[in-house]
Symmetry: T
Subunit: 146 residues, 12 copies
């Protein structure tokens, strides 16, 4: 089982960006922790970070060849991107949306997600652990189907 | 570590209610699965289901005495209850909101959650597995603090 | 054929509550009139009144065992209850919404019904007679199916 | 007692128009059934169908001379006609609004009725039977007054 | 100078329709009073009343041949007709909107006028006198131009 | 018969302010024309202009002693002043709102009038002539009452 | 003179719930202080607290037998309950709404009160003293009537 | 193949109505050009223009007998007619909506089309050529099916 | 202890303005009653009434020198004045908003208070007694602090 | 005559993406068909597809050097891109917006086009044929100008 | 070159009003700094502060005689005054709006400026320096024109 | 002191794009003028223009290493980009938003800025000079801190 984990805009700054909201862990260390966790479940992970809406669209588009599921934190694009919504909808396997912070408890414009309706489900508010929970969720989902 | 798991209105019908949305597992079997999962993490669980907004308010209010965290699926009250929002806010330990279906992909009135802003985080779209993920999330959270 | 007739909050005050809107007949006499009318059509009726949203949810939930249809006047909960909407949706047989007054001709907040979209139909503005019309409607509906 | 029954735009297509929503009965047969039903209650009925908002306004305006009540299905004009609202308001006897489908359970623009606030009451969701229920409702109403 | 005076839907009922709002004068007597008033100013008047949106569109369209100005009370169509808005816009000479009642002091849906932005001006709240004021206004306007 | 004519903010600039919208006549000459017109109808006029919301409130408040009616062009305060609305409502005799331009055909924020619902009627779009029409309207109104 | 004082959901937690908003006094001590204050005015008080919307509806409904007025802090139900609105409206004597905090200065959803329009008046922002002021207000009101 | 081409209100004024928006070609010449174009594709055309919403409803209703497709420019009714929406929906073959101007670039109220969701597609902004493109579109569509 | 009591626009008309809403007591007599009441609590009162938003802003601004608290009935400015909101916010001691009528039970535009969020609390619906309750509230507040 | 045809995000997946909405033809074959069609009209075509909003902005910006018109399907960016709106507005020659599906008949967020007001016209709902119609439309437009 | 600098309501409290938002500099010292800065650019400045909307309207109205430009901080009136909007629009030379704080980053009601659309431009968020920047901006503007 | 100046989408067309709105100066010449101006203040400037939202996010992200402040004209992304909002918020030094035109006086969708709340301040309406004013503002700000 192979999962592609996509992080959206400004996530490359993780660890230095507003640490009171996003914590002080870097993206690399977060990805390492998720990869280790997945490995234990027998899942292979691939990671990508992009600040470009179009690049994220393409990552999802090409993932259909080599990924069984996607875990995506669209970050700011969550609230503005119909293009990523469409890319997720066009992806024929499960996609899970993750947010490190609880987007429901922040500014008004973060309360609407354009991408969530195209996903299987959403996990938010658990910091870096949210990604592990998403991997776990996919594991449950694909194991049950099998 | 003790977790109280609360299920809201109409969840007692689980298994017979709109199975195409909520699956055919009963609430009892769901609770059993969650309890077993929690036990393996060394977590004791207690379960409650209520169709009464006021009763859920009281369950949360008295939980402060004997629960380290709450996992709640407020069901329909998610979208209409300020009272449960207030009860969660008054609870001094973590509360996680769970929904079996992806509420973002259903009717418009299910897209707003009055309760989520008072919670630590939200997990939705993973059916019965969502409860296990929430227990796992609390385990992460409380282990890290310790 | 058995019909459960449910009346929502403040309906127990019928006869003494704002008689210029709701008339001076008591709930007991209204129920008696409806029972008599139904009997002539060969329909057995059971009546319930509750001021509790949760109790109404439960009345609908357990009705699946012994009622062929429900006539419900959710009163104030019409405009605020997703829980009753969900309960009606989970009920596998016809439910008809009745209002004694014409809710379209009153305050703005009474013009939206959260429960009507989950029902088969709605009858409003005919006072106590609305319940008889609803019983008649169910009679038509179930006779035609048979 | 004389009742005028008015059907609005596209109702002349009844039976061939979207049968999954409106059934396969024609308008003529529907009118026949309603007339028969009314006759048993000692009520004389007259029927009119018009696709013209202005014509419906005129039908209501002239009905004051020879009708004791009106049953109207304004169809699409329900949602757009202030002119019919005004005509109903100017009519000094009871008017009942009927819809064959449950307009609360369809597209958003069908959920608002401009005409209902000017009527005595509304009946919707019972197909052709709705007209009979409306006739019955008028019978109750005018008998009680007498 | 020739003025066409157009009255919209339900205005044929003037005198019998909601006299507490519209007074007890009939349309014929109102038209007579306006014609007499205009005559004194040397203005020839022609009157038309229609309950049909399309007919009003046509009245305005053909008026370009023989009218120097139009006084229109679009009644209910004020609030719903883009077609009459367009017809007025296409008319190359002044059009004045008149309302007998003060539409700003009635139901919310009467507060928006779709037709007024296409007119030269609006006069409302003065009952039958409003038409005379409109004729006077046109007289001022066209005299000043000349 | 005595009429108080009140002009609101920026009306003192009449003649020099945006002449393409408001014309090139000064306020003094406008007032003179209106006084002359009123005199012919046997009406005594008094004029006031103020840029102060509070002063306009006071002008209306004290007018109850010596005016039989008020003609007011609240200008910008039309769209923002509840205080003038309240003052008009507290004035026990007729008040007419006048606007020189057609406020319905300008910016969106000029389409709502907070003051009009408290008035007897509204006249707009006829430039300086609007005031004469308002005086005429009052003349009609008070003559008919007498 | 007898007054019923009703406290809504989560008020049983007073003293331990968000003390920075609601203070550290318990509900029992608050009730004691209000009872003492009322006694000095010759008023008998009865207290009730409920987390159940339906129970509050019933408390109001039965109060008509033995209370001359009601002081109610509907807490969270202020913003969501049409049922309590209706119960207050059906109560034939004065009802005063009290809030300990200034609900106008908190989250957006606390700014709208569904219950206040059915009450005589509202007092908010004075903590426990608000109840005493409400008792005082009723004293003024009923003394003046007598 | 037979196509019915319907033009809505004020289209009979084409050539003289706001030529800067709609051009100076008359409706007759436009229809001639479309007929010629269609003929070359082997398509027979029939033309109708009506200012009456109800008549357009009827034109669509009876077209089911003798037309394989409809090209309609509902003009002003685009933005206000649920009746034409319903008529189009009841028509079992393709309907294409045409607008001469780009309705997206005009007043706000022209940006919403009530009729377009019931059509196969929409073409706007190309003046008289839009009709030819619509005929061409139908030709493509029906040829591909065949 | 010194309290400044400010009354806003149209309050100088008290006693003659809409007596069915505001009662027949004059402002002078109201002020006298409040002064007497305050005196008994050992509080010195100063009164001001202004119809000018700017003057009220200045009254609040200079009160910082000689008042320990302000009781304000901003009347119409409640719903439109950000300037008074800012003045209250800049005042470093408690300000209480009073309304004689229950503003929640009147026109829609009276339901929003721009000034209340800047105050300590709000009292409305108790006529002239509301001022006394506000003085009492300040007395409680400042005594408790001392 | 040279036309640039731009396809927006996810259009590279054509043929495999939601074939029930977008058909099974690939983008390459679609482009081929359009090129062939254009060639017959003596028009040279160039094609570009991009998932990047910025790239589309640049494609339009540089097109001013070598294209006489643009046909663009902005796909998801239709609903979210002011940048493409601005780029189109800055392009001094005709731009036509094309959508394969009827965007008016899909999700609410697809009904608003930010880009259409900057275009000459819009064609939607005709699948791949829409591009040919757009080329035809440009041909009409530019031939008429010449 | 002469510039009039106008400060709106509550600005006379500068230095003592909410210093965490507006700083501790007084208005007099701010005006001194701006005057000195302007002098270096050869610009003469005149300063005015008013808490009265009407007075600000008049300051702008009379400035046309002796000012080449206006720098205005309408403070609270920014969000509520159409009268100042109109006064600015009637002023035939450049007007610049200044705010000391970043109004976009504060309460929702401060995000809309009614006055900015009538100005040449807006500068906000730079405290007292904003006025100097505005003077500089006018200097650029008028120098370029010359 | 080093400042990064970022220009958003379509700004590379400056000089040729809608010159009536944006002037005829090219971006290069604008950048030269700003650099010269900054140099005189002892400030080093670096310039970047991008049409890509993601690239602008990255420019801001890496600027933390070598810029003391940012001047940004996000152009169209002002109104649609949460990603740039987040990037600015994550940048630990001052960012100033500049617009050449007065965005408050243009289309409705240009009146909301998603990016401004994350900036220190905003300057708009002064064409190319706005950049110089922004540089000056930063100079004031950083000098005062030092």
């Amino acid at each position: 089982m192979r999962i592609l984990v996509i992080n959206g805009p400004n996530m490359h700054l993780l660890g230095s960006r507003e640490p009171e909201v996003y914590g002080s862990e870097t993206l690399a260390s977060l990805e390492k922790a998720v990869a280790d966790f997945a490995k234990e479940l027998g899942i292979e992970t691939r990671f990508a970070q992009s600040n470009h809406e179009g690049e994220i669209v393409e990552l999802i588009g090409t993932a259909r060849k080599d990924a069984d599921a996607i875990v995506i934190n669209p970050a700011a694009y969550t609230h503005t991107s119909v293009a990523i919504h469409d890319a997720i909808k066009a992806f024929p396997k499960p996609v899970i949306e993750v947010h490190m912070s609880n987007i429901q408890a922040r500014e008004g414009f973060r309360r609407e997600s354009l991408t969530a309706p195209a996903c299987v489900g959403q996990i938010c508010g658990f910091g870096a652990n949210g990604y592990k929970l998403a991997v776990q969720a996919i594991h449950y989902m694909l194991s049950q189907k099998a």
